[in-house]
């Protein structure tokens, strides 16, 4: 239903900080104004644009605060200790990591450790997600609150989960005796 590339497309609207190595007046985009850019001065721009500038060697990327080995280690511990999903520092943590590690590896300290930690956190959360799906379906509940789950996480189980619940709803409706029009 939704391609991960589309989730990434949404993530690319996130603002990241870059330090440009050139000067540029304000750019009037349809989606809002960007800049001005001054050499050496940090500025926030959308991720898609940062990737483009980086590819053209026109900037250095400042990693987001949370993209830091110590902070991520704490986060991993918190996620391990908690029964529930903990709030993530960015709702696009997976996509932003993935993109920045590809196009701006050199700008990110201990990039390999960051990659591993993010993947560990992801795996912890996905395992939690699967057992909560199982509990949810077995519980006869008809709805659930899913705070702190990110879009990419939702997306990996989206079809499976919605189709299962659709089916459960039909089976439950059978039981409560809704007489259906016949169609043979």
């Amino acid at each position: 239903m939704m391609d991960p590339a589309e989730v990434e497309f949404l993530a690319e609207k996130e603002l990241v900080t870059i330090v440009p190595n050139f000067a540029q007046d304000k750019i009037f985009l349809i989606g809002g104004d960007i800049g001005p850019l001054n050499p050496g001065l940090p500025v926030q721009i959308p991720l898609w644009m940062a990737v483009n500038l980086k590819q053209r060697h026109k900037c250095r990327v400042v990693p987001p605060d949370w993209m830091d080995v110590e902070k991520l280690e704490d986060k991993k511990q918190e996620e391990t200790d908690s029964k529930f999903f903990t709030p993530m520092p960015s709702k696009y943590y997976m996509e932003v990591t993935q993109i920045l590690l590809k196009c701006a590896t050199a700008d990110i300290p201990r990039a390999d450790d960051v990659r591993t930690l993010i993947k560990d956190i992801w795996d912890l959360r996905i395992a939690k997600l699967r057992s909560s799906i199982d509990t949810f379906i077995k519980s006869d509940a008809t709805h659930a609150k899913l705070n702190h789950l990110t879009l990419m996480e939702i997306n990996t189980v989206r079809s499976f989960l919605t189709l299962s619940l659709d089916q459960m709803h039909i089976l439950r409706t059978n039981l409560t005796g809704g007489i259906k029009p016949t169609q043979d």
Partner: protein, 219 residues
């Protein structure tokens, strides 16, 4: 190089939106349309406004100096907006094809003051599509059948979207008293309050009016 039609004039009471706000609304409409089982109201204004913005920007690009740094950034933005527009209209077209008779019926039952379900172009397409499919059935099958079988029984053949499909949503405005499960023999009725910022998974049906009013967004 600035987007010169920065504002979209509305009717008397409507607020005037900036191009950036229109784009945001369009993106929201795109995701809602993507995840809702039924066809939502047409957002013709948003689509037309964004297409005008793109055209204006393309003209600006033509006039700009070759090799200007900004050109590629503007072009990338145009590509991104065009993607949202095409994807949005494609999803709608698919639903129109899947549920043609149902949608045309809904549209014919619509009250004067309600917003249209289809844009004029979509309506024309839906009509032509329905005629062509029924014509095909007729020429290859129905007219060769015995006298009492020659018509399509719409009660049986109309395909409807399943409004009971499950969807994911994010709450934009506190909304009280959503009846998510009617009272049945075995269970009592179930009512939930939606708090701003929360995410839920539930059936689409009780939420349909709140998607239309933007109190919740589908994710």
């Amino acid at each position: 190089m600035s987007s010169d039609t920065d504002e979209m004039g509305g009717d008397t009471e409507e607020e005037v939106m900036t191009a950036a706000e229109v784009l945001e609304k369009l993106e929201e409409a795109w995701l809602n349309e993507k995840f809702s089982p039924d066809l939502l109201e047409t957002k013709t204004d948003l689509v037309e406004c964004m297409l005008e913005q793109i055209t204006a920007m393309e003209e600006n690009i033509q006039r700009a100096k070759k090799g200007d740094f900004k050109i590629s950034i503007h072009r990338m933005e145009i590509d991104r907006i065009r993607y949202v527009l095409s994807s949005y209209l494609r999803i709608r077209l698919k639903k129109i094809e899947d549920f043609t008779a149902y949608i045309l019926h809904q549209e014919s039952q619509r009250k004067e003051e309600d917003s249209p379900l289809l844009s004029p172009e979509e309506y024309k397409f839906a009509k032509e599509y329905q005629t062509s499919v029924e014509g095909h059935f007729n020429s290859l099958a129905l007219r060769h059948m015995p006298a009492n079988s020659q018509t399509l029984d719409h009660k049986l053949t109309v395909i409807q979207p399943n409004l009971d499909n499950y969807i994911f949503l994010r709450v934009n405005e506190d909304t009280q008293g959503i009846l998510i499960e009617e009272e049945t023999l075995d269970t009592g009725e179930e009512i939930v309050d939606l708090e701003k910022g929360d995410q839920h998974i539930m059936r689409y049906r009780p939420l349909a009016p709140h998607v239309a009013s933007s109190a919740v967004s589908l994710i």
